[in-house]
């Protein structure tokens, strides 16, 4: 087999990317549990662990640069490396949003949330599912699955709009709720961004499979 070593390196790279993805997914889930259960210790853990996510992203980037410099990749190899580079950046930013949610939870301190959290966990679930599916599409080189991720973003956007309107009515009704409402609005915004970045990953998968670079992010936000 010609280029067996290169193929092994590409495989390792993808495995590392997927494991970064699952770290990010856990961070998002934990940030929500911390928020919902008012578990500040868990929230602090999410903040600490984000450093590790950042490190992993840089490590992936270095591996890509090494392979580009030493292997002169073209065609599918080049597209794979470019996709990994982009996706690693997207994942790292998603980790930052999880960290942002954890920080809000810490800022809220002992204060109870303004309202019971129902739509926000739903948004989180949809966003993490989008992340999972985009990474599955990557592993399976599945263009159709990647396109579905993109469509799922609309549902997250709808939920975000719904939460926004609801929080707005709280604030109009009673200005003393503004601070607590704003916390939840930030959380919802972070989740909306996470879903957007999952669609960015899906776009990179489409690029990897087809060579087509398309700005398909149809999010209204």
């Amino acid at each position: 087999m010609v280029r067996a070593d290169f193929d092994r390196n590409l495989k390792t790279l993808q495995d590392d990317l997927i494991s970064l993805g699952s770290m990010v997914e856990k961070a998002v889930t934990k940030s929500l549990i911390g928020l919902k259960n008012r578990d500040l210790q868990l929230s602090r853990q999410v903040v600490e662990e984000d450093d590790y996510i950042d490190q992993q992203r840089y490590q992936l980037e270095e591996q890509c640069i090494d392979l580009i410099a030493t292997q002169q990749p073209i065609a599918i190899d080049l597209r794979t490396l470019m996709a990994v580079l982009h996706i690693a950046t997207e994942l790292e930013r998603m980790g930052d949003y999880a960290e942002g949610i954890a920080k809000i939870s810490i800022m809220m301190g002992d204060e109870p949330p303004l309202k019971p959290l129902i739509d926000i966990p739903r948004m989180a679930e949809k966003a993490t599912t989008m992340l999972q599916h985009s990474l599955d599409a990557l592993v399976n080189r599945d263009e159709a699955a990647a396109l579905e991720v993109r469509n799922a973003d609309d549902e997250v956007d709808d939920l975000y709009e719904q939460i926004y309107r609801e929080l707005l009515t709280y604030m109009i009704d009673d200005p003393s709720t503004i601070q607590r409402a704003t916390y939840l609005l930030w959380v919802a915004h972070d989740l909306e961004r996470i879903a957007d970045r999952a669609t960015n990953i899906a776009e990179r998968v489409i690029f990897l499979v087809t060579g087509r670079l398309t700005g398909v992010n149809v999010s209204q936000y």
Binding site: A75, R79, T210
Partner: protein, 272 residues
């Protein structure tokens, strides 16, 4: 304009169609005796562009290249079917003078092959036998300048060409080809005997020359095709080891997203 089989309806065809092809191979099959080496190659080479021909060893790249200036005529048992049009004229048609063709379609070989003469005489050689009536000094200077060699040799034009470095000798051979005012320059692995620095100089030169000339280059070096060419043709031997055209397209497309999986396997180094 007809392109490689299966690629006619690609959008990029429109870009290609803008410039009339300088050379067109039409259903070209080539035989050495009973052994067939190329099968039904149909391909247009755009004017004033660099086109790379790539493919594994023995796929008929050099044979194809040599058809374009009738260099294969010199090989015993050479035989071909199909057509090669040079600017619309059948290269193998009756009354076509192969020597005249070779002035219009110059060639640069793998190893630099300067004549054992002075630098000046190497460049002046073709024009002299051609009965060139202009000022030879000017023609030689102009050709050496175009080949990006003038500054390095202007003070020693009477010295032997064999004293030049490999990269300089190759540029001298390019100057020699340019001196007879060709329209096409064929290059058969022009950098395979050169160091990386000299290689980059030749690639740079190809880019510049393509403003005025059409260049067709055979190369084993995929990165060279990627760097230096506008279009790429990929040839490969079939089960009977007869060369066929697999894919032709813009180099940018071939190197980022080839259509045929055989092209992809070859250019990414999975075989060949």
């Amino acid at each position: 304009m007809r392109m490689a089989a299966g690629t006619e309806d690609r959008e990029r065809g429109a870009d290609l169609a803008e410039a009339a092809p300088i050379i067109r191979a039409n259903g070209l099959s080539v035989y050495y005796g009973t052994k067939q080496v190329l099968s039904d190659v149909t391909l247009d080479f755009p004017s004033n562009k660099v086109t790379a021909i790539i493919g594994p060893s023995g796929c008929g790249k050099s044979t194809l290249l040599r058809c374009f200036n009738r260099m294969n005529d010199l090989i015993p048992n050479f035989n071909m079917t199909g057509q090669i049009l040079f600017d619309g004229v059948d290269l193998y048609g009756p009354g076509v003078d192969s020597t005249e063709i070779r002035y219009q379609v110059g060639m640069v070989f793998q190893r630099p092959n300067p004549f054992p003469k002075s630098i000046f005489d190497n460049v002046a050689f073709g024009p002299k036998i051609n009965g060139y009536e202009g000022k030879l000094d000017e023609l030689v200077e102009q050709s050496l300048r175009r080949a990006a060699l003038w500054e390095e040799v202007k003070d020693r034009l009477k010295s032997s060409a064999l004293a030049l470095s490999g990269g300089q000798q190759q540029r001298l051979c390019i100057a020699r080809a340019l001196a007879v005012h060709p329209r096409v320059i064929l290059m058969d692995e022009p950098c395979s005997a050169l160091d990386p620095f000299a290689t980059l100089a030749i690639e740079e030169l190809m880019r510049e020359l393509s403003e005025d000339y059409s260049i067709i280059i055979v190369t084993h070096n995929m990165q060279q095709a990627a760097r230096a060419s506008d279009y790429t043709a990929f040839l490969m031997g079939n089960e009977e080891r007869i060369g066929e055209l697999i894919e032709f397209g813009e180099t940018r497309q071939i190197t980022t997203n080839p259509e045929d999986e055989r092209t992809e396997a070859y250019i990414t180094g999975r075989f060949g």
